[in-house]
Subunit: 409 residues, 2 copies
């Protein structure tokens, strides 16, 4: 008997999460084991509320599928909702299984990051523990943070990395316009992994000879050392680019932005002024070096820059969606659709499934030996890892000069 | 006798200023009146220092010309240097004329914004007052601020406007991911004109039904009115987008960011914490409304986003460079190469020269009747003006996944 497939999205938005969704829809349409493709709105919360839409009806042409592929942020909506621990209360799991049975859903693909993979792991375990074998639960990875284990790199990261490299290349040109000493500090997202910050290294030396200082959250940060590093570079160069993770912290694990906030000010509304890490470094440079400096926080812009996508990222994200469907129909519940790099040059990956229990709640950081001894840049090995992930250019569709997206809800 | 042409760039970087330079080079190569094309490094300061490079030799293929066209920021370098008033001290002018004569320079094209057009005006006046008729001085316009008079719109503005519209479209998708009340505040550059901020309106209603509140520096700003506007929107909608000019000010002309800074804090280094306008609004929303809010300062990112260019802007910028050469060889000194819009639909412009004396030191603001009565959005007429300027997509070249620029110095 044909079963329906349900797909949902969760966690923070990325520029590639809809490419995976498009891959799921397109592969499910090809499978004779699958009848309808439903989407749940707003993640697992929407599953519990049975907020389903019929994706076959909404995404009913190749053109719409293509548009969805390059639409940023979760088109089905997302949530930050964790299922209760099974041992404490299994009512949510029972409810989900009931809803699945009632809607003849035999395949569930949940696309998300660490927390979402935890949801997949719990649900798969509940089914397996309770001998429910007519529901296959598969995880679809995504996160710009690139911190999922069990996969070479995460969908969404390549596009964010490409955006960051492009921003650095552009800002470098800005700096070289005047022949005065100047520094630009750019703060990237990443409280627990420095992958996005490392991506700045891709622009280093691509166009002009401006030195980069790159500070990842994987190494303890010291403002004194930072000022020394910068002074050393400013001896030989007019312009210096600084890339810093928002999550850099001192030897004791205290975030730089928190340690400085301790002596914060209040604004006219009495509101505490929390400076970002980049702003703190900007102020330190002003005070201790005194040269021209600007800090820029990439903020949400780095997550969803659909006007500059990595073609490799979008292609892989789509194929991971297709692979998720393949795993589901082969009745391999409890896996995350994954890819493994088999060669750097030529770059080649293979698609597979990995045990979701090994993925859930783990974090992949930048290896210490991919960071230079001084702790202010990455090694060539790290760049070799990153380079293929940003290969090729794609962008969202445009209409009347502005982005034109596929809207599902 | 053939004369050489000298071109230089000045003022703040834009994504289109090199397209104008490319237009000058390409048109000068075609003209039999012109021998060599020199570039002066770092603006009029570099002219005074005779820091010239031979552009025919450096940009010697069509491929390099094309690459230059989409390279952001002033490839020749820029300066923020004003010539002394002639009546006070004309030695700099004499020096420039000497340098021009010594290098057989008969044509000088200076590409820049308000200040640079002032330089062109002064130099042209000096030549005319002193009967120096073998040097033609022409201005090439550029500024993302779009505040030059004597031209329908400024080169560089269209690309910045397109970038801003794209950012708003992307952030809208971010907001719609969760079904909770949330606000995003985006701060655009523009101390003296709100054109960049107005560009946000191009993304309004393009994809989803999220209301926009747009505050331009052309109308006095009140935080109380702003909170009222926002509360009214939040009654009917979950998500609201706010666009604000950095230069919004109160009835007395005091910048909001300055009035709030009066009660500023100091950070751990004793450094005064100046909040940007966006951050101030973010804090006001947190305090008075309490919903989820993020503020984003586009900062330098909006000036040089060469990965998303307006094809119209790049094409026009190039043609304005070509037109500058045409004006120069027809011996029309003291003009700015300009364009006039003759039709909105179909969009059509004609190229001309305008008297530089009328351009220098003047500012074009958004007309009051292009702002709605409530002072929190623009009218359809404003959108009709903006729309054609962002038409068509172009981007810089890429190599190994990152921007690949034409480097001249």
């Amino acid at each position: 008997m044909k079963k329906n497939l349900l797909v949902a999205q969760s966690g923070g938005p990325t520029a590639a999460i809809n490419a995976t969704l498009a891959g799921v829809i397109s592969a499910a349409n090809e499978r004779e084991e699958i009848d309808k493709v439903y989407g749940a709105l707003y993640g697992i919360q929407g599953v519990l509320q049975e907020r389903f839409i019929d994706l076959n009806q909404i995404v009913d042409t190749e053109e719409k599928l293509e548009k969805l592929r390059v639409t940023p942020a979760a088109a089905l909506g997302s949530c930050r909702f964790k299922l209760s621990p099974i041992e404490k209360d299994d009512s949510q799991y029972r409810q989900i299984v009931d809803i699945f049975h009632r809607n003849n859903i035999g395949y569930f693909v949940y696309i998300g990051g660490n927390d979402s993979m935890d949801t997949v792991a719990k649900l798969a375990k509940y089914c397996s523990d309770n001998c429910i074998d007519d529901i296959q639960v598969i995880g679809g990875p995504k996160t710009i943070d690139n911190d999922l284990v069990g996969i070479d790199h995460c969908p969404g990261f390549g596009s964010a990395a490409k955006y960051i490299a492009a921003v650095f290349a552009e800002l470098e040109q800005e700096m070289c316009v005047y022949d005065t000493k100047s520094v630009i500090v750019v703060e990237m997202m990443g409280r627990h992994a420095g992958w996005l910050t490392a991506a700045a290294a891709l622009a280093d030396a691509a166009n002009v000879d401006v030195p980069y200082l790159i500070y990842l959250e994987e190494r303890p940060f010291s403002i004194d050392r930072f000022i020394d590093d910068l002074n050393a570079k400013l001896k030989d160069y007019d312009a210096v680019m600084i890339a810093v993770s928002e999550g850099v912290h001192d030897e004791n694990g205290v975030f730089i932005c928190e340690s400085v906030a301790a002596s914060k000010g209040v604004d006219v509304f009495g509101h505490v002024q929390l400076s970002g890490t980049g702003k703190i470094l900007e102020n330190a440079i002003k005070d201790r070096i005194g040269c021209k400096v600007r800090s820029i926080e990439l903020n949400l812009l780095q997550r969803c820059a659909s006007h500059i996508l990595s073609a490799t990222d979008i292609e892989e994200s789509m194929l991971l969606g297709e692979n998720a469907v393949k795993l589901a129909v082969s009745r391999q519940s409890g896996l995350m659709s994954s890819l493994r790099r088999v060669s750097d040059s030529p770059y080649r990956v293979v698609y597979e499934g990995v045990d979701i229990q090994k993925v859930a709640n783990a974090e992949k950081k930048i290896p210490q030996n991919w960071i230079n001894k001084a702790g202010n840049n990455v090694t060539q090995e790290c760049i070799n890892y990153l380079r293929p992930l940003v290969a090729g250019e794609m962008s969202c569709k445009f209409k009347d000069g502005v982005p034109d997206y596929m809207i599902l809800k």
